[in-house]
Symmetry: D2
Subunit: 281 residues, 4 copies
């Protein structure tokens, strides 16, 4: 599937500092960056940071002079996902998990799975099939957590959201991740562009490791699961923030867009009783 993605951001530097952006579409075996353009206005030399694990494509640049900075990123992306049949796939026992997956069982800044252990197991522990288990907890989030812009901030974590039950896509993702890890299912944060997301913005959802694959889940149901362009994965938003700002640089405005450059898009969502998961890689 081909998508055209677009992001523009405006910052004002009040003092020298550094910006690290995480808005480039990832290059993976199944996601090709057909073309892309990244511009800074005024011109600043930017450096692309190569992640060892291929989890993201950070861009870092020093802001030496105060003033406005305009950032534009556009790209054409060709990606594919696969449908994975998970109806009969059992949970992977911890002693069989790949080494590099183990880290996604650990609690992290916004996903305190250690604190949600009893709750998660009381609520979902008796479901045997892992795809069913994660689907059920994702439905619970969708049904109980209110999508409410402005109700949370950059410090809000899954421990807050599980009780306060309001938030935005990032909070929905953190809660899903924390519940999965509390159930001994590895889970990681996924950030990307999403076609048909309304209102248009960067999107966040999460992947759970089931049957040897990273399966995508989105507790917000705000975009079809097959409409995503992956920017990054990580433990949580601390690893995959859209922007990390160092110094007195303030954010002014942002515009994000993701359009289809193909025909025949058929939106795909998980349906009750479904057994097929979506995996991007």
């Amino acid at each position: 599937m081909k998508f055209d993605v677009y992001a523009s951001m405006l910052y004002t530097a009040n003092s020298p500092g550094t910006l690290i952006l995480n808005i480039h579409a990832l290059r993976t075996p199944n996601q090709t960056v057909v073309s892309e353009m990244f511009t800074l206005e005024p011109y600043i030399k930017a450096e692309e940071l190569v992640s060892i694990h291929g989890e993201n494509r950070l861009v870092r640049f020093e802001v030496a002079n105060p003033g406005e900075i305009s950032i534009v990123y556009t790209a054409r992306i060709d990606n594919a996902y696969k449908l994975v049949e998970l109806g009969d796939v059992p949970e992977t026992p911890v002693h069989q998990l790949p080494t590099d997956v183990l880290t996604y069982l650990n609690p992290s800044r916004y996903c305190q799975s250690d604190k949600l252990f009893r709750l998660a197991n009381n609520m979902f522990g008796n479901i045997e099939n892992p795809f069913q288990k994660v689907s059920t907890l994702v439905d619970w989030i969708y049904n109980n957590v209110q999508y409410l812009s402005g109700s949370t901030n950059s410090q809000t974590s899954a421990f807050d959201t599980v009780t306060e039950q309001a938030g935005v896509c990032r909070d929905f993702a953190h809660l899903g991740i924390a519940l999965c890890r509390a159930l001994t299912i590895p889970a990681r944060y996924f950030t990307g562009y999403a076609y048909k997301l309304f209102p248009a913005d960067f999107h966040a959802c999460f992947e759970a490791y089931i049957g040897g694959e990273w399966i995508l889940f989105d507790a917000t149901r705000l975009a079809p699961l097959n409409s995503m362009v992956k920017i990054a994965t990580g433990r949580d938003a601390a690893d995959a923030a859209i922007a990390n700002i160092f110094g007195d640089i303030s954010f002014n405005a942002m515009q994000v867009n993701c359009t289809l450059a193909d025909e025949n898009f058929v939106p795909f969502y998980y349906l009750p009783g479904g057994t097929q998961g979506i995996s991007y890689l």
Copy 2:
């Protein structure tokens, strides 16, 4: 019903300080203190503090000299409770609540009802009958929160317990109170002696204001509801702590007991589908 209650406590004062104890059985229209004895060893002059609202009978004394302090309280109590038929009793609207009850709708130190608003209403908001509503949330606490000595401390609050789902009687009570208040049902902390409580200790449960009465609930199910001798009520354990210590005075040991001084005790617990609540006053 007549009960003999007993409490002994040992402290070591390392420096001068003040102790405020909250272990005396309350005197109410339905609870008579037939006889009681309070001794401090070595002898210290103690002052009984008269609470304006009759919520407790604090005893305060200054510890002028370092050393061990032994406290013994014994009393014979004659009290009565009433059974209140609540099957058809609707919720009292806020504009009809007595002024002195309104305060029990507010969040307090250990009962952050403001943070549990969505959760409580998502889980229990659709139950119409208030006795049924509170009974259901109390059953939910009983079924989901693990009674686990040592799992919590004096700083643990309902906001913690609703997620961590482990605690002791005080935590069960705080969670019940917070959920009630989040559902606009006034609720307050109740501390007392409880016959048949095992292991013997001071007990904590809570009262909810339904049908113009303070109805007793105990999410631990550790003692019959009709086995209680009331020591105090308050917003939460911050108001009704067994002991408040000022200065470098350390707690060493405690023994608590409550025996029946009557015949024919028939334990009473709420049963599923029941419509009768217990009220002490």
Copy 3:
């Protein structure tokens, strides 16, 4: 000193509900309500709730019909404060505190003094004179906590603010109260109208019990200490919220004003090294 105070508030009721307002100037021996007017538009019968302790003058009314509600309160107040010489006044030991003051040593919803015990004593415990002690901690708050509108919400507590170091007047007051109680100095929340407060709004500060008097402190320094008209005191904002809303009623807008109806106002602030505190009663 005579002040004219004014508050108007606009709500929209989306469903029936109840509003409890806490905006009336308190009547005390030193604060006379010369005249006042309270109007609801459309007309609703409102009930003034008499507080047993004289801590506030709540007004409660049922909103039976959806729609806009406009509230206007105006009053002329004549009040006086006294200056109390505290340079040689020692701390009141706990065993000498009046019974009704003891409650202001307890932790409360927004003032978790139990959690701030070591911090408070590490920072301020070595200061002997209590007025000096509280003045020093108030200066510390002023110097370290940034006044930042919108940085906190109705759930923010002293435990948050002591670390996050940003907030509004309510947060400044909560932190001051929590620190005092952790130092075994009774402290309570104070809400009122304040002349020369900019931008005009309801104000919050706090009182500490020193030398047998409730002495006023304001860590924001946003208004002169002698410019206050007391609305209420309480343990914290849970007791003294401007409005408690029950039901689906949303807040739209508010206007608050406090002007001088006298001549010769000389602003009074505590100065470094000062020994005189202000007490309203």
Copy 4:
């Protein structure tokens, strides 16, 4: 310097499960594992997990049968540290930090540096030299946080400790890390064996990235800085827990020891005004 390290641990498996241990001495250019022995009793096949970053040497094994498990690890280690002169070394600006170091600026489960930003900068932001800055904050932790066994648990984080000011080595380390990151100095958790640690146990301290080196700091002052055998580094204890337990396996007992296998050990601690940091690699 040569050390003999020893760790024995006893677990009881109540059901099948998996254990992942993190007790092996790390192999680094400056730390040679001269000899080591790891035994499980009863015999279970264990797998050493190779960390991509060389941050740890995990051992994982499946516990198939209920019963007691006895673990013994002994090793002789030969390691070296270097003294780094940091008196004139300036802070590394973010745009010059190596890519793999950037992650140690992010907040993590136990080190919520995002919440400590104002506090850290208010307290230590005006110190220019980074070694001096970190030394000062480490001294502040030492002077204000009480080492108190049992005062915290596995969920305690830097956000708690900065206010509650009590904890164990792990809490001291987390607070140091969080403050560094809040000051834009990369910092990571360090766990190891420590000679002369009393009482003997695994130790935790932290490293800050200064002058292109990972410099060791220990806010507990419980062991000389040159007495360490590194087990692992990570973002915080979530990455470098001594043991991760999956399944119903309970911990019973542990013994840890670290003795000198060399002569002439001269304990090294940072002194006030010192400019030399210790770096292990």
